[in-house]
Symmetry: D2
């Protein structure tokens, strides 16, 4: 249960899994630093960076999925109950901007 | 310091700059871990991950540029001198595969 | 003309604008065919294909935005009213899969 | 054999295959127009656009591969023979910019 100080996020129940995935990604980034330091062949460095990109993309898609299924869903329900769509509209605009950044990054 | 055993790579002369950029990316990944740990709003986490992706993409493009301008260039010259294209063909195939991974990652 | 059998989609009110954008994209694809036929310089062909990719990406982001703001929104409201989340869950899963394809395509 | 009026490009020997692929992509774009016109479900339209994006990406990667293996290769050889790297440097810069556009588009 969340206290007033700790907001619940879409990803909250999977926090430990996200922490582990990001820890692994951090290790992969350190691995690339080591490869550069050891003059590893360019193509092998590039392959490793592509693996990091895929792992980050997968984290982003997971966060977005949980954002839509929690934050956006709750905003739609609240707007439906209250008749005031302003927060929902803001949340949708924000989600769309984040999807666009994800697609372009 | 480079010993006779240390191969020169396309990125060798920019090694320090790449090391710094990757160090900064490592810090950004740790920043995302902290954001998750502190239940930061999903969209802000996603924005930060998009920034990391852009930074990694930029590193990859830099490495690819130097790979083409050094390793691939030298392989083409060597094939031109020797009349044996086999190493050049392998280098080109490898570069193309890396470009495809970069485009898809 | 919309008959009772014609479903309304998220993009329905912007149909004419989407039709125009896709017509223009079709013309761009034909332009690339002409470039190839006339042995246009590879890099210029690639630039034109990149322009098409950006235009298609922008259409996809628009359709996704309208999908979230209409179809997904309605599914959330219906689930909220009926207490049965099954259609909403299916719609969210489908949207997430489409976002993933968009990010990876 | 190419006449003075018809430049040879990296893709010249595969021209017919590229023409066919682009013709098929043009048909796919027309298919999306028809889907929009018939109020097809948003997600199905998005899936079709993702298929077009993948097909275009594959065409771009093919063109880039042939560009590197022909135009860039010849520029490197010419620079090696003449000792004047200016055209080669321009070709490499151009290829790198095209790869960056491809990665970002």
């Amino acid at each position: 249960m969340s206290s007033p100080e700790t907001p619940t996020r879409g990803y909250t129940q999977d926090k430990a899994a996200y922490a582990r995935r990001l820890k692994r990604i951090e290790g992969q980034v350190r691995g690339v630093q080591r490869m550069i330091d050891e003059d590893t062949y360019c193509i092998d460095v590039l392959t490793q960076i592509s693996a990091i990109q895929s792992a980050l993309k997968s984290v982003s898609l997971g966060l977005m999925e949980e954002h839509l299924g929690h934050c956006v869903k709750h905003a739609v329900e609240a707007a439906h109950d209250s008749g005031d769509p302003s927060d929902m509209d803001a949340k949708l605009a924000e989600a769309n901007a984040a999807i666009a950044r994800l697609v372009k990054s």
